[in-house]
């Protein structure tokens, strides 16, 4: 050991003297950061849901005063938001834009990607921490600042951003005008987005480096748990798709504060007044740059969820995933294709037949790997010995919900159907089925699954079941009617929920039903939240590996100490060696060799002789054993 490790020892020494602040607030430990991301993200998820409940009330009972809450918001935000307890249409738009933004960028991405990724990935690959702990901390704090900016934006003059989460220009540029354009909601939105993008970029650099560099000896690519794969592809998507939106945000910021006209054509007449800018810009430029991010982004929302579900299903069925390799390659395929389909959100922006042909084809193509993934997950159930633990319930609930959401994406993939369905509630139904009973369920599965690792205690399984069945029913109660409303022509972002339109009169009766479903969905979250916090103290104490799982995170103590493992674990087998025919127990952990000369399953379903010492020689050569000059 030379100076390098001497230095490390020094650092190590420091750790024992960490104060409370450095331990729990400005921590560089991936587990603490993961939990920070998790709690903040879940809170934002709840907050975003709260915004949506207000909106659903307005849609269900347009023009009726909202009991109690309406008055409270009116007192806080003034008459611009609620007047006599009745929501203003501008405020509805604020809520809609912020619901979308918060759910996507402050809810799902931080929880599904950053929180689980931070907590679980290093453990699953047998690493002591993330590759760059300080950058990791910077990533979280950049996210926190972005989140605060978004929250504060409700209080600036004119209120928060209200041009949809898509922030289409020119609307976004002419909305919320004020003498000081810095102090407006849309400007805050842009600044917040820049912080959030920075956070995601730092995070994804860290994730990819960690996965490439810090895998334990023997953890070859095809022995990584599927969750790690999903996180890695997600990180690549964030890394390469987010910067164009950052560029676009800077441009829109310039449009707002410096009077440029990147996205504004000549000859605009707003409110009867010619709009005083140089002109010559293009609204479509914003859309291209936005969707270049936002389509990969939607896979960012689902891939970590799929990863969690993959791990949980292998554990809950007590058998290896069926066709692990197919899963991995499909995930990579999705990642690749997701960069070339973005214009399917722009079908009605005047697209000629050549471009339209291209994007319809790629969009339909991208559904193929998705079908493969769902098929693999479904077929993995076959032949299992299924145990309905709470994580497993959520994972199996996820499958049909994602299936319905994904399948309804296929009609939308066709330009001519878009003529009818674009911008209707059908679209809202499509993606909410994927992100709400889809990703959110996957998140719940992940929380219930890894909670014992993080806390050392398990969450209450009975209340977990209540949480699952209640949420499952209510989610469908909210989102299924959206397809019917969409088919009837109801459009999204309608403040009156369709009350003022003839063609939606037949489907209006769903609105109250959907509100009450959302309300009850909210009630069903109460047991979860209580369960979550109370189990820290009162949960049942469990062993280090309560689910009899195979992957490396369960080799560490619960909760893992700083540095995670006492000694470097190695991966001797594939990730999911459950119910091996020649092993008596129904699982053989990755960190233990299988009996010599037994058959194991390769990822693609082919069997091969197990080589207990199948550890890449190169990776056994840790830096210490390497000769150093």
């Amino acid at each position: 050991m030379d100076s390098a490790s001497a230095h490390h020892h020094e650092e190590h020494h420091d750790h024992h003297e960490l104060g409370w602040w450095q331990k729990y607030v400005f921590s560089t430990d991936h587990k603490v950061i993961g939990i920070q991301y998790g709690i903040t993200g879940l809170s934002f998820l709840l907050f975003g849901f709260g915004l949506m409940m207000l909106m659903r009330w307005q849609l269900a009972y347009p023009g009726d005063p909202l009991p109690i809450i309406g008055k409270i918001v009116e007192n806080v935000l003034g008459e611009e938001a609620f007047k006599d307890g009745v929501m203003a249409s501008d405020f509805y738009n604020e809520l809609g834009a912020m619901h979308g933004t918060i759910m996507v960028f402050l809810g799902i991405v931080p929880v599904a990607f950053a929180a689980f990724g931070n907590y679980v990935v290093p453990l699953q690959i047998g690493a002591p921490d993330m590759a760059f702990p300080k950058i990791n901390m910077a990533s979280f704090w950049s996210f926190a600042v972005g989140g605060v900016i978004m929250l504060v934006s409700f209080f600036v003059p004119g209120g928060a951003a209200k041009s949809g989460w898509t922030s289409y220009s020119p609307l976004a540029a002419v909305n919320g005008l004020h003498e000081n354009m810095w102090m407006t909601g849309q400007t805050f939105w842009l600044l917040g987005m820049v912080m959030l993008i920075t956070s995601s970029l730092l995070g994804s650099v860290n994730f990819i480096t960690t996965i490439i560099q810090l895998r334990a000896p023997g953890m070859s690519w095809m022995r990584m748990p599927y969750f790690v794969w999903a996180q890695m592809v997600t990180a690549y998507l964030l890394l390469l798709a987010f910067p164009p939106l950052e560029a676009a945000s800077f441009m829109q910021l310039m449009d707002r504060v410096a009077g440029t006209s990147f996205f504004m054509p000549s000859g605009l007449v707003v409110n009867g007044q010619p709009w005083a800018v140089a002109g010559g810009g293009s609204p479509l430029l914003w859309q291209h740059l936005f969707w270049f991010l936002a389509h990969p982004e939607v896979y960012v929302l689902i891939l970590p969820g799929l990863g969690i579900v993959g791990d949980v299903i292998a554990n809950g069925t007590r058998k290896p995933l069926w066709s692990y390799k197919g899963l991995v390659y499909s995930t990579m395929g999705i990642g690749f294709l997701s960069f070339v389909v973005w214009a399917h959100h722009m079908y009605l922006t005047g697209m000629g037949s050549k471009v339209s042909t291209f994007f319809q084809t790629t969009t339909v193509l991208i559904s193929v790997p998705s079908v493969v993934i769902v098929t693999v997950l479904l077929m993995s159930l076959w032949g299992g010995s299924i145990k309905f633990t709470v994580p497993m319930l959520f994972a199996t609930g996820f499958l049909p919900m994602f299936g319905l959401g994904g399948l309804t994406g296929i009609p939308l993939a066709f330009n001519s159907i878009g003529l009818y369905l674009h911008d209707t509630y059908y679209v809202i139904g499509h993606f909410h089925y994927i992100v709400a009973p889809g990703t959110i369920f996957a998140i719940f599965a992940g929380v219930y699954y890894w909670y014992p690792k993080a806390v050392g205690r398990n969450m209450n399984q009975f209340w977990g079941r209540v949480h699952f069945f209640g949420s499952f029913a209510c989610m469908n109660g909210i989102f299924f009617p959206m397809f019917l409303q969409g088919m009837a022509g109801m459009h999204r972002r309608w403040y009156d929920g369709g009350a003022g339109w003839d063609l939606t009169q037949n489907v209006l009766h769903w609105n109250p039903f959907m509100f009450w479903s959302a309300f009850i969905l909210g009630l069903f979250q109460i047991p979860f939240i209580l369960n979550f916090f109370l189990s820290i103290k009162f949960g049942r104490l469990v062993s280090d590996n309560p689910w009899d799982a195979t992957t490396l995170e369960w080799a560490a103590p619960s909760p893992p100490p700083h540095g995670n493992f006492a000694t470097q674990p190695s991966a001797y087998t594939g990730p999911y060696e459950y119910s091996h025919p020649e092993v008596a127990a129904d699982f053989s952990p990755q960190w233990l060799p299988l009996p010599e000369k037994t058959e194991t399953l390769r990822g693609d379903g082919v069997t091969e002789k197990a080589r207990p010492n199948l550890v890449d020689q190169a990776m056994v050569d840790s830096p210490e054993t390497q000769p150093r000059a």
């Binding site: 390469l240 164009p244 479509l284 000629g352 050549k354």
Partner: protein, 113 residues
Amino acid sequence: MSTPSTHSQPGHENEHAAVTVHVRAYMLVFGALLVLTGVTVALSYFDFGSMQANIVIAMIVATVKAGLVALIFMHLNHERRQIYVLLAFTVFFACGLFFLTWLHYWDPIRLPH
């Protein structure tokens, strides 16, 4: 890539020599870049017939310069596979961003006259 990186084992004799070779390359590239900068400026006062031609030629020179920086200064002429793969994807998607943005612009819905 199986050959171990030359500059990962510090203090070696041949390491030292390798760095000296590098240094010579850096100086050559420095000269080349300065010359090419002059060339870019000079070319811009010469009309190649059309704006497109002028742009294309200026971009070719700029790409050569950028290539030199990337290959020699950034050591991309002998990097590891992982990094080439990453950059290949990046360049591909960046080109996609340019190309498809332009594609939409090029194929609008037109009313025949």
